[in-house]
């Protein structure tokens, strides 16, 4: 097949996916406080504003803090499930796995409303830390999927060899399983981190009136006064996501992680 039809298709889709981001990037470098495109003048001051303006900076800190804590929590929940399913033949544990996959498959508004009802009933509505637990549960699915793939990829001969040579379970875990699983832990963490950083509705329902995360801040800015800082933050988020996924691709097998056969399997 000649190459140009494929190139044309990729070009069109690339344009479709990149156009809105390009416009936002253009808006972000406006010199004056206006959202015009093409930009009038060129200035990176709005990127500086994210860090210089205490409102934007505190939203940035809140988002990064929530995302860091929630992604660690999600991995702490997902890791034992994936390990247990790999180690033991326990049908009931499949139920736990399905529970871990459910929040991500259902429309997010449902999980968000569940949390709102739950935290209100407990009288904890609006407590800043509740969003960490809520995001930790909501994003369990991602590390669960990457870790399940990771455990499946472990060559059982390695584990058997170690056991035959007298290694006990703890030694096998420490010297064989953990090093093989580490890349999947990192990618699970990264997926959960990036998505938590961008998540709006769960955060809004749970702590919308007490904590301002960046997505909530951008939404409020959309309603009550546009500023190019919103565009700068958006571009920052795109850059963070691209960097994180680029690193996963650099140090891991992204196509395999996303379900394609790797050339190594063939």
């Amino acid at each position: 097949m000649s190459r140009w039809p494929a190139r044309l298709v990729f070009g069109c889709f690339g344009l479709f996916l990149a156009a809105p981001l390009a416009v936002v990037a253009g808006v972000a470098v406006n010199e004056k406080k206006s959202l015009t495109f093409p930009p009038e003048g060129f200035s990176l001051a709005w990127f500086g504003e994210i860090f210089a303006n205490p409102e934007w900076f505190s939203a940035l800190l809140a988002s990064v803090g929530v995302a860091a804590a929630a992604s660690v929590l999600a991995v702490l929940i997902a890791l034992p499930i994936a390990w247990f399913l790999w180690r033991w033949n326990a049908p009931f544990a499949r139920i736990v796995q399905v529970l871990g996959l459910a929040p991500f498959i259902l429309p997010p508004v449902i999980t968000a409303l569940g949390f709102l009802a739950f935290w209100s009933e407990l009288g904890l509505y609006g407590e800043p830390w509740t969003v960490v637990i809520s995001h930790g549960i909501f994003f369990v699915t991602l590390p669960l999927v990457t870790l399940t793939l990771g455990f499946d990829a472990i060559d059982s001969a390695l584990v058997e060899a170690a056991a035959t040579m007298g290694a006990d379970e703890k030694t096998v875990l420490r010297t064989i399983v953990f090093p093989l699983i580490r890349p999947y832990i990192i990618s699970g963490l990264a997926f959960a981190f990036v998505l938590s950083l961008n998540e709006y509705i769960v955060a809004y329902m749970v702590v919308g009136f007490t904590v301002e995360t960046l997505p909530i801040k951008i939404f409020n800015a959309l309603r009550y006064g546009y500023t190019p800082t919103m565009a700068a933050v958006s571009i920052l988020f795109v850059a963070v996501a691209a960097a994180v996924f680029g690193l996963i691709a650099r140090f891991g097998d992204l196509p395999r992680l996303l379900g394609a056969w790797s050339p190594r399997d063939e």
Binding site: A19, P20, I105, V109, I110, A112, L254, G259
Partner: protein, 283 residues
């Protein structure tokens, strides 16, 4: 080697923490939400325990019937458009060199992880009068004056397809990258053009995958919450918007919960259906 069954109670210890967490923070909230959907609403934003179907009966009113119909229709449209666009794209992608695939996957994941707020903001800028594409058309002499293209149904649709497209590609990617390449080769050897091979061999052999993907994307699109608000008019608000509106602004948790329970039933039913389609293909 078949895996052993856990023997002692201590073997279960590692899974106790995740099971407990999911039980306490997912199953219990879910249960509370279902319970509240049967509660009686008291004026002033409160509710009291009861067992009544009043919240569910409100679905039968013309207004909520309209919102429901619109939500389902919009999500179906988004799902079909996204799959029609993403299927040929993913098929071509899965046939590229590895580095090209990785580059696109990184790009798609970056767009997929973008906050709905950012997607909504980006499209509202692209469709705006001051920074939008109509300025480009004016510059090219195709239009006299820049106009704002939102709020409108088309804007909501464009934003939601944009949001759903990377998701659709990633759902289709495993099936299409594992597809037996000899299928196309055989068709080509027998004299079919690339387009004919694609439509007469590839598409029919993945009919169930396509159906399952449409359903998955439909459920994904049902969750869209900010785009209808940012790019549409109130007539274009979806069930997700309405649930949040009832819960936060109208303080009517019982009704919001009833709508959420309904949305769960629709989603679960459809996900079950898509698993059924997916299963049949493997068999």
């Amino acid at each position: 080697m078949s895996k052993p069954r856990p023997r002692r109670l201590a073997d279960y210890a590692p899974i106790a923490f995740p099971a407990g967490m999911l039980l306490a923070f997912f199953v219990v909230p879910f249960g509370i939400m279902i319970a509240i959907s049967f509660y009686h609403r008291v004026q002033g934003g409160f509710y009291e325990p009861a067992f009544e179907f009043a919240n569910y009966q409100r679905f039968l009113t013309a207004f909520f019937g309209g919102v429901l119909g619109f939500s389902l229709g919009l999500s179906s449209l988004v799902a079909v458009v996204a799959v029609v666009l993403a299927f040929p794209f993913t098929w071509l992608l899965a046939r590229q060199r590895r580095q090209v695939q990785v580059m696109w996957l990184v790009f798609l994941l970056s767009v997929l992880s973008l906050s709905e707020v950012i997607i909504g903001f980006a499209w509202s800028t692209l469709f705006s009068k001051t920074a939008g594409i109509t300025n480009l058309l004016v510059a090219l002499g195709l239009m006299d004056q820049a106009v704002s293209l939102y709020p409108s149904f088309g804007a909501v649709l464009a934003g939601m397809v944009y949001q759903a497209f990377p998701y659709t590609v990633l759902v289709l990617y495993p099936a299409l990258s594992r597809l037996d390449p000899t299928l196309v080769e055989a068709a080509r050897t027998l004299g079919a053009s690339p387009f004919r091979a694609f439509f007469n061999v590839i598409v029919p052999s993945l009919r169930n995958t396509i159906l399952a993907t449409i359903i998955m994307v439909f459920v994904f699109a049902l969750g869209s919450y900010l785009l209808p608000q940012l790019l549409g008019r109130p007539q274009q608000w979806t069930l997700s918007v309405l649930i949040t509106d009832q819960a936060i602004y109208q303080s009517n948790m019982p009704f919001a919960s009833a709508m959420a329970v309904f949305l769960v039933l629709v989603s679960l039913g459809l996900v079950g259906l898509s698993l059924l389609f997916g299963q049949r293909e493997k068999a």
